[in-house]
């Protein structure tokens, strides 16, 4: 924090305080008006200034005309989880003026279109209103209603650049990259950005005391969404067959896979595809295709969300029991039923762990961010073939569709797929005895498999009906139970080979925060905030099910484990109670399931119900309950 003795006429922090590279703002627009590219431009410009930044798109399940928001948080310490403390709101949608203005933190700013006066009842005396006549400026300078709407968005980017001290050269450079082939559009964008920028500089004291400044925090980082990263993982893992049915928020995973396949997987000579991507008639068919392709020896996957996974459940049981490698990406959204399709949740944890009827239990891996989406996608295919079973990669809408700053993706060219125990034609030819599909020859619960079309001695009939260790149909008690028990051992045996939990311990900590998936950022921010208050807590993030052997001792070592997750029923907590020896009393749930990404304040508020957190050293004065705590640094 740098000192600045100037008293700002724009409101903001108390005199003398300037806050640099620690801010969040929210842009409220109407969906279908092209604001996404303007907002992306802002987020990318901040990233290129070297500041860790995230962009969260809170969008409706609608094509045009409903409210949509984009939240940008920049934080030098790398805390880029969602925050509910907005220093500024860019209010571009009259339909949401009221709630948008209410969400600005005390001392913050509201940037609005002053072409028309704001209704009187929206006034707040603890925030500063910054009016820019955006509509008027675009009407005066551009023709055509669509262009005017688009340029209005670019105009507010210009104004924000001036107010927050965003490097205009970077903004112009990004525009140039985007519109390299469209000179006319580029000129229009240049003009719009300058209109906004110049207006702000002429009418306000720029920059605001809450502002940005170049730093070097992103040298080895990229900004990417989890679905894109997972799709890249599928390409690098050598997946050749994808079958899917469109469903938000997983659709962009297959979209990205399609794009990358066209880029990387065309036969250079014939131009033909070294992949097959099948848009199925429903999720049942998508699952069937993946299982058929996995059975035939391809690395195959589907991408879906909870509702789709419900439809796939019967097939999941088949793949589990018939032991067919297959990979399922579950990008979770808010359930039950249709729920809120464009909002995020972690409501599928328990369902995925035991999906399908009968005794089923699955290997599930939980990435926390796009970087892990890439790594875990590759891992999933190896696990699927090693353990001959469906593997679930469970992310969520926030991870899958939002922009995250993560370390660059890395690839080691020495990687080769783990195809597991697949007998070759030569091995089958040389074999002296007959091949038995479900015979546990090695004692690790994993039998060898064969692929169709390879060798007559490898033939067997795959079936979801009762079968014995030789692959024959059975309705007899012992041979049936023998196979089912062995499959169970196989899955349990995978636990030590799955991603270990991420554990961070601190001196003197007696309690722990335990979490999963995309809650990581919010929980780590809470760990830091607690430390600032003199409260030490340990941290563990579950990354796989069945639980890694490190999980149980960690839980046992803490008086209380606060399990932070995004669902109503504390699903991870219940799974921990069911599947580890942890005492029920040692687990307490901290839950948020309203559909937005988890924030640090959810964790802190939840903890406050159990332990005395003391005073927030950062809070200057108590904020109203409706507005998140926080405020400005002294």
């Amino acid at each position: 924090m740098t000192d600045d003795s100037r008293i700002s006429p724009n409101g903001g922090p108390p005199p003398g305080a300037v806050r640099v590279n620690d801010l969040a703002f929210k842009i409220g627009t109407v969906n279908g008006t092209g604001s996404a590219s303007a907002n992306g431009l802002l987020r990318r410009a901040i990233f290129r200034m070297g500041i860790p930044v995230s962009g969260k798109n809170l969008f409706p399940s609608n094509i045009q005309g409903l409210p949509t928001w984009y939240e940008i948080r920049a934080n030098a310490d790398g805390h880029t989880a969602r925050t509910a403390r907005f220093d500024m709101v860019v209010a571009m949608n009259p339909a949401t003026y009221k709630r948008d203005i209410e969400e600005v933190t005390t001392g913050g700013w509201v940037l609005h279109d002053s072409s028309w006066p704001l209704p009187r009842d929206l006034d707040r005396d603890d925030v500063t209103f910054l009016g820019v006549p955006l509509a008027k400026m675009t009407v005066d300078n551009f023709t055509g209603s669509r262009v005017r709407i688009l340029m209005k968005n670019i105009c507010y980017v210009g104004a924000l650049a001036a107010l927050l001290d965003i490097d205009m050269e970077i903004v112009r450079g990004l525009l140039k990259d985007t519109f390299a082939a469209k000179a006319k559009l580029l000129d229009a964008n240049y003009l719009a950005i300058d209109l906004g920028h110049d207006y702000a500089r002429e009418h306000f004291d720029c920059p605001l005391p809450v502002r940005l400044a170049p730093m070097d925090g992103n040298r080895d980082s990229i900004v990417i969404d989890g679905n894109t990263a997972a799709a890249l993982g599928c390409v690098y893992a050598g997946a050749t067959v994808a079958a899917w049915y469109p469903i938000t928020p997983s659709t962009s995973l297959v979209d990205a896979f399609t794009l990358f396949c066209h880029q990387f997987r065309k036969d250079p000579e014939t131009g033909r595809n070294r992949f097959a991507i099948i848009q199925a008639e429903d999720e049942l068919a998508a699952a069937g295709m993946v299982i058929g392709a996995g059975w035939a020896g391809a690395r195959a996957f589907t991408s879906t969300s909870g509702a789709g996974l419900s439809l796939m459940s019967e097939f999941i049981g088949l793949a589990y029991y018939a032991e067919v490698p297959s990979v399922f990406f579950d990008v979770q959204r808010v359930g039950p039923s249709t729920g809120m399709p464009t909002r995020t949740q972690q409501g599928d944890i328990q369902f995925v762990a035991y999906a399908s009827h009968g005794d089923t239990k699955h290997i599930v891996i939980f990435p926390a961010n796009p970087h892990e989406c890439f790594d875990f996608a590759v891992k999933a295919f190896d696990l699927a073939e090693r353990y001959q079973t469906p593997i679930f990669v469970v992310s969520d809408l926030d991870i899958g569709m939002n922009d995250w700053v993560v370390p660059k993706l890395e690839w080691n060219d020495s990687y080769r797929p783990d195809r597991g125990k697949v007998l070759t034609a030569e091995e089958l030819e040389a074999a002296t005895g007959p091949f038995h599909r479900y015979l546990d020859v090695d004692g690790d619960g994993i039998p060898a498999r064969t692929l169709p079309g390879v060798h007559p001695k490898g033939a067997y009939l795959t079936r979801g009906s009762g079968h014995d260790r030789y692959g024959n149909y059975t309705e007899d008690s012992e041979p049936y139970a023998d196979v089912l028990a062995r499959v169970g051992r196989k899955i349990e045996g995978a636990a030590p080979h799955l991603p270990a939990p991420e554990i961070r311990v601190r001196e003197g900590a007696k309690v722990a925060l335990v979490t999963i998936g995309g809650c990581r950022g919010a929980v780590l921010e809470a760990v830091d905030e607690l430390a600032e208050r003199g409260i030490e807590v340990d941290y563990m993030r579950i990354r796989a099910f069945p639980f890694h052997p490190d999980v149980e001792p960690f839980l046992a070592a803490h008086e209380v484990n606060f399990v932070v997750e995004q669902n109503r029923d504390g699903q991870l907590g219940k799974l921990l109670i069911t599947e580890t020896g942890a005492a029920k009393e040692s687990l307490q749930s901290i839950l948020y399931y309203g559909g937005y990404p988890m924030s640090c304040h959810h964790v802190m508020d939840g903890l406050a119900e159990h332990i005395d957190l003391g005073a927030d050293p950062a809070v200057v004065e108590p904020a109203p309950k409706a507005v998140a705590t926080g405020g400005v640094s002294a």
């Binding site: 992103n218 099948i278 058929g292 059975w295 035939a296 079309g453 009939l461």
Partner: protein, 356 residues
């Protein structure tokens, strides 16, 4: 007689095909279906067709759903991989397997319940996708394993074993497949092996989706008076509309269009179908006319059988089947070396400039 294990050693004098395999080599395990079940006759015809076509059994992928029909892949081609999946979902499993390995010869065996009730969606879409497979519906109008409920192919007015009358309209897989654009549509009868074997052979050689709906009476639950899927009813109302022979590529024959009653239709692999006898001006390559003719015969109370419709190889592009639509490489995807599938570290590094 399902408790009898088939002998592994065969008589040395059995006739061998050019691969040196006897018909016994194309068999599977002993059937557990009811004695006299139409499905077993179909299994026998399938065995004959594969033997005559001289196909290596392990090149074949056999798939099925659930029900009596679902059990049948166990009874033929012991040396082929098989997949007995879930009810009504054989098409998607087959599609996936075919996507992964286009060199597999796919044969799917389904039933009227499996394809026309629970699996109606997948049936329709596998036709649309033109997956290169032979799709058999063993059609008996009834659910056998659950003891005699009507299926969606039961005719209006047909009666169940205990006398209930079906009043719901049937779904006709042949008309449906014609509507959905199938390139090869046939109807046959399990009791007519002479007709069935050549159609099976042609269906296996047809590139793209081939449907054979085979009336296959259920001796236990649907072979009584009042049933329209009984042996008696089918024999009484059977109209062998189209007589066709399958002619493999090596046996070139002369097309004879001028004779009027003989027509030859070429298949993609160079083999052909020779229509020996068709009624009047029946044109087995005219989809609309075939549709109309079948409807007309149905109104007359007849079951029209034979290879009813086939598209000529030249009529549709080479690229109209599943892999043509997909634009997939000629080699099976499963045979692609990993090194040619992974773009490598350097390209990942370059790609990520886009994300900065």
């Amino acid at each position: 007689m399902s408790y009898i294990k088939k002998p592994r050693v065969h008589h040395p004098g059995l006739t061998k095909n050019r691969l040196g395999l006897t018909r016994r080599d194309y068999e599977g395990t002993m059937s557990t279906l009811c004695a006299g079940c139409g499905h077993d006759s179909i299994t026998a015809a399938i065995i004959e067709a594969f033997w005559e076509l001289e196909i290596e059994p392990h090149r074949v992928a056999k798939t099925s759903g659930i029900g009596c029909s679902g059990k049948t892949p166990t009874y033929f081609l012991q040396e082929a991989h098989g997949f007995n999946g879930v009810h009504g979902r054989m098409p998607s499993i087959t599609t996936g397997a075919h996507a992964a390995n286009r060199d597999l010869m796919c044969i799917g065996v389904s039933g009227d319940g499996d394809s026309l009730s629970i699996g109606m969606g997948q049936f329709a879409h596998v036709v649309r996708r033109n997956v290169d497979m032979l799709y058999i519906i063993e059609n008996n109008g009834v659910y056998g394993l659950t003891k005699g409920q009507f299926s969606a192919s039961a005719d209006v007015g047909s009666t169940a074993k205990r006398g209930q009358v079906n009043r719901e309209h049937p779904i006709d897989s042949v008309l449906l497949a014609l509507n959905l654009g199938a390139g090869f549509v046939a109807r046959s009868f399990s009791g007519d092996k002479e007709q069935l074997v050549p159609i099976l052979k042609a269906g296996l050689r047809h590139r793209g989706f081939a449907l054979i709906d085979i009336i296959s009476p259920c001796v236990t639950f649907n072979d009584h008076h009042g049933s329209t899927k009984s042996y008696q009813y089918t024999r009484d109302n059977y109209n062998q509309l189209v007589y066709a022979d399958f002619v493999p590529p090596a046996h070139e024959i002369q097309a004879s269009y001028e004779a009027g009653d003989v027509r030859t239709v070429g298949l993609h692999d160079g083999s052909s179908i020779r229509f020996r006898k068709v009624p009047g001006d029946y044109d087995p390559t005219d989809r609309d006319a075939v549709y109309g003719y079948i409807r007309e015969r149905q109104r007359a109370g007849e079951v029209a059988t034979g290879l009813l419709y086939v598209e000529e190889a030249g009529e549709v592009g080479e690229e109209s089947d599943f892999h043509g639509i997909q634009g997939t490489v000629e080699e099976p995807l499963v045979d692609y070396p990993y090194e040619e599938l992974c773009p490598g570290a350097e390209r990942l590094e370059r790609l990520q400039e886009r994300f900065r």
